[in-house]
């Protein structure tokens, strides 16, 4: 027969267990924040001295004291802007098709879903090789901003699709069915009900994916991002360099002065990422208020 334990003993045990888990979770968050803090402090210490307006507005240079990042900063904005223009519409379109139109019981749908989830885990360099073969060489786009943006779009599409599907799934079926029951067409239901309600989730996923794309260097070397350019990109068929390329090159130089400007480049990169994520939060909050 089971021994009876009094209510108070059990309560004590539970409280103790509660304390232990609280401690474990607190330590995990403290460890991760500390690692991040060490990283940021280290970068700030090395880089803040070199970071000024000249650094942002100058051309890159072999003389570290004169070096700037303007072509790389603009290159990054061009490539990421174009990537957003390509990947977000395609991603949302795919998600709508898969979630609203596709027959979920068909083998095609299942195969597609598994594949998309798998693609999200493919190493980025593989996309670089694909981009080089298909966009740069086969389609003869050349090592341009467009080829870079197309490659990055492929890289982040799976993430955008998966997060958009989740956002669309989260729209209560009572509302969509209500709209359909009132005689609203399927298309108008999508544009007028589903998308506005799913926008916060879609935008959060998309912008986080874009932030990831912004930091990629490996696949971009493959598709033709270079280390040094003497001009600023002004069309999608221009050649370009990117912030991660400059940072990568500078950290591998022997002279210590390059390590410092690399750190300054990392700070700019962090600020850029922070701004993008901030945009994501603002968009999310605004659209959320509209729906609620």
């Amino acid at each position: 027969m089971k021994k009876k334990i009094s209510y108070h003993t059990r309560l004590k045990r539970r409280l103790l267990l509660n304390q232990i888990f609280k401690f474990i979770f607190m330590s995990t968050i403290i460890v991760s924040i500390m690692v991040l803090a060490i990283l940021v402090i280290d970068v700030l210490q090395k880089g803040l001295g070199s970071l000024d307006l000249d650094f942002i507005l100058n051309m890159p240079s072999s003389r570290p004291e004169r070096a700037g990042i303007l072509p790389a900063l603009l290159g990054t904005l061009w490539v990421i802007g174009l990537t957003a223009l390509i990947s977000i519409p395609v991603g949302i379109g795919t998600a709508i098709y898969l979630q609203v139109y596709a027959d979920k019981k068909s083998w095609f749908f299942k195969a597609l879903n598994i594949n998309i989830a798998n693609l999200a885990g493919v190493p980025s360099i593989v996309y670089g090789i694909l981009g080089l073969t298909v966009f740069v060489q086969l389609l003869k786009i050349g090592p341009t901003v467009l080829a870079g943006a197309l490659t990055l779009s492929l890289l982040i599409l799976p993430v955008i699709i998966v997060s958009s599907i989740e956002a669309i799934k989260a729209v209560p079926s009572s509302i969509t069915e209500g709209s359909l029951a009132l005689g609203v067409s399927r298309w108008r239901t999508i544009t007028g009900v589903v998308l506005p309600m799913a926008t916060p989730g879609i935008m959060t996923g998309s912008i986080l994916a874009l932030s990831r794309a912004m930091g990629e260097a490996a696949p971009m070397i493959m598709v033709g991002a270079v280390g040094f350019v003497t001009f600023l990109p002004d069309s999608i068929m221009d050649r370009y360099t990117l912030l991660p390329m400059l940072i990568y090159n500078w950290t591998s130089r022997p002279q210590d002065a390059f390590a410092q400007i690399a750190a300054a480049g990392i700070i700019v990169m962090l600020i850029l990422l922070l701004l993008t994520n901030l945009t994501a939060i603002i968009i999310r909050n605004k659209t959320q208020n509209r729906v609620d």
Binding site: M59, P60, S61, S62, R63, L70, L74, L77, W78, I80, G81, A84, L85, I88, Q137, G142, P143, M203, I207, L210, I221, G224, A225, V226, G227, F228, V229, T230, F231, L232, D234, R239, T241, N249, T251, S252, R253, P254, Q255, D256, T276, T279, I283
Partner: protein, 308 residues
């Protein structure tokens, strides 16, 4: 889509600001350069100075490695390929097949430096036979005592540049007789490869039994953390330490020339001709500025004569 709108408008404003500040000269055009990351610092510096004189020539310099550079060179994607070793027969064949005619120009010397840890008190010099005992394909030495009798039983740990670099090709050819052949990574002797030479510096500086090799500039900047090893091919002769003089006159056995390969068809374009001429004329001063050893004057004169 608000995000992209913000981006585009930022771009337009930024581009507008910059466009106002661009000066003008008559020579226009574009030049694409790629290849060795060892030659990259020289090419970058030359490009920067050239661009100060000719601001309307659009130049890109990449660093996808000597091998990667030649692939692009054969595909006609670039006008100039930087190389930290001589072109290989297979690469020549590819260029012939693609009907690309080229010009080979020497721009500077680099002394591939073999380095060990500062605490390594025993290594006074190494012969090529001993290097082969450490780096060779069938090398068996696992401890320093296996390399030369009397050295301590410290484990050997190897740091080497990655397989796509010309530095790796040159070193393996010089030491092991065949380019690309090196000892296998094993339980007993660990080999770490990295395309980033600063990681190799950190690795060698961090382990007492470590040995590695890379361009002279990386040793020079880290001379306080590393010990450079004098080398000799012939065990009877005295070993030579890499310094500017011994690298320049090639008495240092791992002294290697750095090249640029120019597409002859591209050379017909005025901007490419003017750029390459500028490169050779200024290579002496500028290669020294980034830590390489300049060629004897006669080599530069010969290079200029080739261009005519």
């Amino acid at each position: 889509m608000k995000f992209s709108k913000i981006l585009i408008s930022t771009l337009i404003v930024a581009l507008g600001l910059v466009a106002c500040a661009t000066p003008k000269t008559s020579l226009k055009g574009s030049i694409a350069i790629d290849g060795s990351s060892t030659v990259y610092p020289i090419a970058e510096l030359v490009t920067e100075d050239y661009n100060a004189d000719y601001p309307n020539v659009e130049i890109t310099v990449g660093f996808s490695g000597t091998g990667g550079g030649f692939t692009k060179f054969a595909a006609g994607e670039i006008d100039i390929a930087n190389a930290s070793r001589k072109i290989k027969q297979a690469e020549i064949d590819a260029l012939v097949a693609a009907k690309v005619e080229y010009l080979e120009l020497k721009v500077a010397y680099d002394g591939l430096s073999v380095v060990v840890n500062k605490q390594n008190t025993w290594v006074d010099y190494l012969t090529f036979t001993e290097l082969k005992a450490i780096f060779g394909k069938d090398a068996t030495a696992t401890k320093w005592s296996d390399v030369r009798a009397g050295w301590p039983e410290e484990n050997i740990v190897i740091y080497s540049p990655g397989h796509d670099s010309g530095t790796f090709d040159f070193f393996t050819e010089a030491v092991n007789g065949k380019s690309g052949v090196i000892r296998q990574d094993s339980e007993t002797v660990k080999i770490s490869f990295s395309e980033d030479d600063n990681i190799l510096v950190t690795g060698v500086a961090g382990g007492k039994g470590a040995i590695g090799y890379f361009g002279f500039a990386y040793f020079e900047e880290n001379a306080d953390k590393l010990k450079v090893v004098p080398l000799t091919k012939d065990p009877v002769k005295a070993a030579v330490t890499p310094v500017f003089a011994t690298i320049a006159d090639s008495t240092y056995p791992l002294s290697r020339p750095l090249f640029i390969y120019v597409n002859k068809a591209s050379l017909k374009r005025a901007e490419v001709m003017s750029y390459v001429t500028f490169f050779i004329k200024n290579a002496k001063k500028l290669s020294a500025e980034v830590g390489y050893v300049s060629l004897p004057d006669a080599d530069y004169t010969a290079g200029l004569a080739l261009l005519k």
